[in-house]
Symmetry: C2
Subunit: 374 residues, 2 copies
Amino acid sequence: MKIGILGAGQLGQMLALAGYPLGNRFSFLDTSANASADIGCLFTHSEADSALADFLAQVDCVTYEFEHLPLPLVKSIAEQKPLFPSVKALQVCQNREAEKALFDQLSIPVADYRLVNSADELAQACQELMTAGAQAVVAKSITEGYDGKGQAVLRRPDEAASAWQRIGHSRLIVEAFVDFVREVSIIAVRGRSGDVVFYPVAENHHVEGILRYSLAPVPNFSQEAQVQAEAYIHALLDELEYVGVLTLELFQQADGCLLANEMAPRVHNSGHWTQNGSMTSQFENHLRAVQGLPLGSTHAKALTCMINIIGKNGDYEDILKLEDTHLHLYGKSERAGRKLGHINLVAGNIDDLKRKVEQVAQLLPDAPAPEFSF
Amino acid sequence: MKIGILGAGQLGQMLALAGYPLGNRFSFLDTSANASADIGCLFTHSEADSALADFLAQVDCVTYEFEHLPLPLVKSIAEQKPLFPSVKALQVCQNREAEKALFDQLSIPVADYRLVNSADELAQACQELMTAGAQAVVAKSITEGYDGKGQAVLRRPDEAASAWQRIGHSRLIVEAFVDFVREVSIIAVRGRSGDVVFYPVAENHHVEGILRYSLAPVPNFSQEAQVQAEAYIHALLDELEYVGVLTLELFQQADGCLLANEMAPRVHNSGHWTQNGSMTSQFENHLRAVQGLPLGSTHAKALTCMINIIGKNGDYEDILKLEDTHLHLYGKSERAGRKLGHINLVAGNIDDLKRKVEQVAQLLPDAPAPEFSF
């Protein structure tokens, strides 16, 4: 089967690497100049209708590696070729207001929030949420935000004017800052026939809004919490009649309860550990789903920690000397804050894994010291 | 690093799939029309000097996925770019006479053999070897044979004339047919600095000269035999100042002793199990070796059986329903005797693995029933 991918970054490239052995071939449609995926037919979108027609003529179905896509384009594609995940899923995930409404509708708990249309309303929302107990609030643009962009943390209502200006959007969502024990994510896959599989929850560590470490399975994550996370994402998958990989980011509070943060309708950075730690990677399972194949086992073969390589390359010669250490580079040049690749470290027990993570962190420039909740 | 590969079949494609995550990019040089590797820059050799120059201008070093290459071409390449494994290794592996001489020189035991230049000499060699106890002999062309091509089994000296004519070469090697318990292979990797790692020996099952099953680690293969196989291949690697993956095929006799059969200076079909069964695949380790990176662990994570898909595609939907089952297709159309792909089955114990192998064999058209020595 020939699969078209909207976006040609590292996620598209890793999908293609997982799909070649399944007999798939790929075409990419990308408007950006710095595409990463240079496997098979790379197709740069020229904004011309003929370019889109050429792309569609090459493929049997279409998926995407990036959710911030123009909706009219995606709707037009869905009228011509099977598109997974659906336009509806994309619409919800592009819009924090629609996403929160869906969480509410499905009784998936979230942090207290308000919607605001001006700096004054932002100040008032901040006041209300802090009066109700929040130590701070996070204001986010309704659309287009990722990796911490389009966001601001407010510790006092009088910071509203400058935050409003900095974010520069006409409508924001304001969330009570959650006092969490850890950030986790669950990745699930739904096939064309409605079958669903779940990966074990991963614990994620962000620095300045960018993911640095993901570790799975989480040693002290209770079975109850895993089941709860699965129930939440299962409800989302079924409601959206979803096909493919969906990622749900959650906060775990001190009492063990989970609050939904946001979701991504695609393979996700916090699931890269599955390439070396699970029987079937998130990339292979996404492709199995979109082409109607049976889903692969999501069983974790070992404890795995994924470390992102941000901005600068490390000493890969020394890193690769460590046993069961797997390098995944994206073919990008160095630039501050840019994801250049990741490293998956696999170990038989958590102490060995933590030791290896510390060793690797020291061999990566500017890598923050790893901190885990266990 | 940009790596040039001579040959663009499935081995080249799997090298490229393993190399993308290491940051490598690939160019292929191939004279055949039905190349499999369509990743990155596929370059079809037009026999023109300019085509070779273009290929060499694109790459930092060169390796090969196929040993039946014209020596003058390879020598010319080695004068212009680093080439691994060396021309010397290629020369020996292209020629059964040179190969046997090297085994003899390094005291690696082989089946009794003779070199012959005519049908009469073939009849006489057959007579001698059978008088010395052989039940049959195998006559093989000195050059160009693979997958059982250019070979004939003789059970009586008077079959020499027809065998000579059928093989159609001017010089043959005639080997006493070995009464073996099993066929095995050992795969080893030597880095640029002379460091060597060994994979566990695999047991191989051929039908009509074509590999059908490889299983590793072999449950009842003794540690002594593993060490012996490692010593043989280590001697070969050092003598040839080899860089990359080398494969040595061996017969194990009833007394446990190993006799060398032949070697291949490349990644090998009997090492495909390492993609899902080992910490580092043979493909990644070959690439690590040729670019001077530390070699990865060859530790087997689980029992793995590789099944070749020959001639016709199977029912992949049903096959992929089995847990920890990994499909590797080469993108080729169906043709009798053609290797279309392989399936790696991973299991925690040998009984589970045998059961899964039987299930998969039933879902592949014309697959021979699996038979193992344990």
